[in-house]
Amino acid sequence: MYRYDEFDARLVRERAEQFRTQVMRRLNGELSEDEFKPLRLQNGLYLQLHSYMLRIAVPYGTLSAIQMRKLGSISRRFSKGYGHFTTRTNLQLHWVRLIDVPDILHELAEVEMHCMQTSGNNVRNVTADPFAGAAADEIEDPRILCEIIRQWSTLHPEFSFLPRKFKICVIASEHDRAALLSHDIAIQAIRNAGGEAGYRVCVGGGLGRTPYLALEVGSFVPKPHILAFIEAILRVYNEAGRRDNLWKARVKILVHQLGIDEIRRRVEVEFAELKQSGMLELPPAEIERIAEYFAPPAFDELSGDSPEFESAKRQSRPFAAWAKTNVHDHKTPGYALATISLKPIGLTPGDCSSEQMEGLADIMESFRFAEIRVTHEQNMVFPHVRQKDLFHLWQRLDALGLATANHGLVTDIIACPGLDYCDLANARSIPIAQEIARRFADPGLQADLGELKIKISGCINACGHHHLGHIGILGVDRKGVENYQILLGGSGAEDATLAEILGPGFDNEGIIGAVENVIETFRQKRAPGERFLDTYRRIGAAPFKERLYAH
């Protein structure tokens, strides 16, 4: 993974020091809260329901053992012993003190981490495929471009006060494991007919009050010009994006207001100018320098089927169950990817305790894992595990409470922090997730239901990605009382669709029953081998509506 050079390191140290001076000016009254708020937001510091919340950037979801250990230490000493991994693969600490944040930023800088642009109207954390470097159909490691974009967008003088936040995602395979098309800019590495490497670029995706999937604005952007193309899009957006209405300020609104053809025309004009200037064409030497950091580790020469792995599965039922759901094929024979579930039944989805973080760092050191990945579904991944090590890995994860065998299943729920933590929320999401998980906890039942992605948001801002859920749940406020709407048929994979509202909402007990009824309807109507999403797409909403609302 990328390692800072002296320039990267100096920048994050200076940024931490800059924030220290800004905090001092706030505490001595030089800065009012109105003046301080944009400054703290640009360092990911929110004032939430109970306390300040700090959002730490995890660039393209990748962490080293040292970084994981530091996050465990910081969450223990400066928060209340846990953190929450978000759908943008960042880490939130919900209980920090303003006066401690400068020290936290300095400690993060020591391990090449920061909180820059995890909030504010700027370019946010660039996310990637969590299977980067391990997926068989990958054109290149998407994180190389992510790191290039991260540097280019950091403290960009022209794009730090955009109409609204701006989210970019990069994948490099046909399989979308990162909810690509829900981003403001969606980039997919491809090869053209001539075998040349380049990028397909889409613009205008976003969830929230008016959800949209991104539309193609560049069918093939040659590699050397990708930064110029991205800057061209940002220029068009900064100039023309709406600034009069918070809910209409994302680039998705501009795209649908002007139409994708007009957007493409404007982007081409800016792109031509930038290409001509050459100022954003990265020299091959620099691309190579960054790419080297993402070179895969030296893999052992192994055969495809590990006898240790097969034997362990025969001897341990729980291990076999976990292997079935949480272990995934790797491009290298004898290796696998392993999903670490942060969705134990009945606990908070995406939460990770300080002990667990430190335990993961221990595991990484024991097994010599250079990296761990955070996914947008609030789980984690070890990308390069030898099959013969899987059993011992599972035992270590199990001891930490991180071996729930539910990846992609009904209890693998995405939930935003919701009204339990968040100042913006209308309803609680976590207890809904917990109760659904409890009702469907039985492993046999989960296996029978198969892939079923439930995503829960506590408000219209959609941080829980409910628009992309096979079953989505949106919490609203109905005259001061929590109310929940069901949406069906969303997908954040390469078959991306936006879920549709089924009908009137339910209270916090009724929603659990409604979800049960939806799932029961699926079980009754499904054809052999169908996932929930397949059944819904085949039979439509009517049978579900009837079940829920007929009487």
Binding site: E14, T21, Q22, L39, P157, E158, L162, R243, P283, R289
Partner: protein
């Protein structure tokens, strides 16, 4: 701190605060015999008269007004003033950059209105020369705020060496030393 430049015009330029050399004149007010700034509306309506005056002329752009409106007239203008209505409106950063890199404006670009001390560094990078400051910002404060981050990642209108340039120099030096 936020500024709303009132009548006490103090202009920060190249590290120093000095008096305002220009006077902003409203659309219906008479033109004084001195350097003035007028709105785009007035400029376009009275262009010939304004340009025939010997005194230097400036034009103020509101956030929604692109400098493209003045494209052909820029060589005759001494000053473009970018009025920021509210600090969150980041269009002025693009207008300044366009003035420098696309329209090749060589006159003075000034920022006035509501902006943060902490935005000045960004404005300088996109080609802004001067700022109208409120009474309570000092030269030291501004210098300090603009100097906190030593290096920059991305190229901009200021043509300042980027971290990429510094990396290349470091490699060249290392190679030369071998």
């Amino acid at each position: 701190m936020l500024t709303d430049s009132g009548s006490k015009q103090r202009v920060f330029r190249k590290g120093h605060i000095g008096a305002d050399d220009f006077l902003f004149v409203a659309d219906d007010a008479p033109l004084a015999d001195r350097p003035v700034i007028v709105t785009v509306t007035r400029f376009l309506a009275e262009k010939d008269r304004l340009l025939s005056r010997p005194a230097p002329l400036g034009v103020r752009l509101e956030p929604a007004e692109s400098p493209e409106l003045l494209r052909s007239d820029l060589p005759k203008l001494k000053l473009i003033e970018l009025h920021v209505g509210y600090f969150k409106d980041g269009r002025a950063f693009s207008w300044a950059r366009i003035l420098r890199t696309r329209l090749r404006f060589t006159g003075e670009i000034r920022v006035t209105g509501h902006f943060l001390l902490d935005q000045i560094a960004f404005f300088l990078r996109v080609g802004v020369d001067s700022f109208t400051l409120p009474g309570n910002w000092s030269e030291t404060e501004v210098e300090k705020a603009t100097g906190l981050i030593s290096n920059v990642y991305q190229p901009s209108a200021d043509h300042r060496p980027t971290i990429l340039d510094l990396r290349r120099r470091a490699t060249v030096t290392a190679t030369a030393a071998e």
